[in-house]
Amino acid sequence: MKIKVTSVMVDNQDKALKFYTEILGFVKKTEIPLGEHKWLTVVSPEAPDEVELLLEPMGIEAAKVFQKALYSAGIPLTAFNVDDIQKEYERLEKLGVKFSMKPTKMGPATLAVFDDTCGNNIQIVQV
């Protein structure tokens, strides 16, 4: 068994694709139309054949409630690893990304949290 796909819930798939590719720098891997929504995944250009991130629509009401609760508590939905968190933080901030937590040392790791504009907090980590 392998972990191949993980997901973030997004309020709008087209907007999410734009943010996750143009701002974060991921690349689109799969797009399959499925009625109102689509199976839409992005990957890191550094590991294009490893784990895919599914930009998942929120078809049920409960998902929206859950997302909102996490968001207002500032809790990240997921985390991505970066080599140089300070550099990444500066790059993203210049592009207008809003951080609720600036790079913060936590023992061996440094963490920062930003708003993905699709309803989520996302954490970046340097270890």
Partner: protein, 165 residues
């Protein structure tokens, strides 16, 4: 006038305070709380982690406690205690376990025992064989034969960056 100014300043200060508090999310507050509890001495802690990553990067070389302590700018005895408190084992125990783990993986790929001994940093085949037997219960040769016969794949241990707490 002065009173008005003072009240105005107080108002701005209060707004600044509430704003500050409002800006920090619940998650951010939790992070700071745990950081204070777990990693209050940031610099010291960072150096212990550096020592461990020095071992991870150099386990195959001829390194000893002196080299490891020096890599993280510690005196030997102070360092020994800190490392043990953090990882629940001494630097030497950690180094030996890492070498044996790497050896197990190499044995699986069919590399001769005599070559593995040097590759993972032991200075003599006898010290390698002795320690391997002590830690796994069988000699490297027997271990390799057993692997081959059973077709078992040793589970690789992911490199840990979070220490034992």
């Amino acid at each position: 006038m002065t009173r008005k100014l003072r009240l105005g300043l107080k108002d701005i200060y209060n707004r600044f305070l509430t704003n500050k508090k409002f800006e920090m999310t619940f998650y951010h507050q939790q992070i700071l709380k745990f950081k204070e509890e777990l990693y209050s001495n940031e610099d010291l802690y960072q150096r212990v982690v550096e020592a461990k990553s020095f071992i991870d990067k150099n386990y195959f070389k001829d390194i000893d406690l002196n080299d490891i302590a020096r890599a993280a700018c510690f005196s030997k005895y102070h360092f020994l205690r800190l490392f043990k408190n953090t990882y629940d084992k001494t630097p030497n125990q950690y180094l030996r376990e890492l070498r044996i783990e790497k050896a197990k993986q190499l044995l699986h790929s069919g590399i001769p025992v005599i070559d593995i001994c040097n590759t993972v940093g032991f200075d003599s085949p006898s010290s390698f064989t002795g320690l391997f037997k002590k830690m796994t219960g069988s000699t490297p040769t027997a271990y390799q034969a057993k692997l081959k016969k059973s077709n078992l794949i040793p589970t690789p241990i992911p490199l840990k960056y979070m220490p034992y707490l």
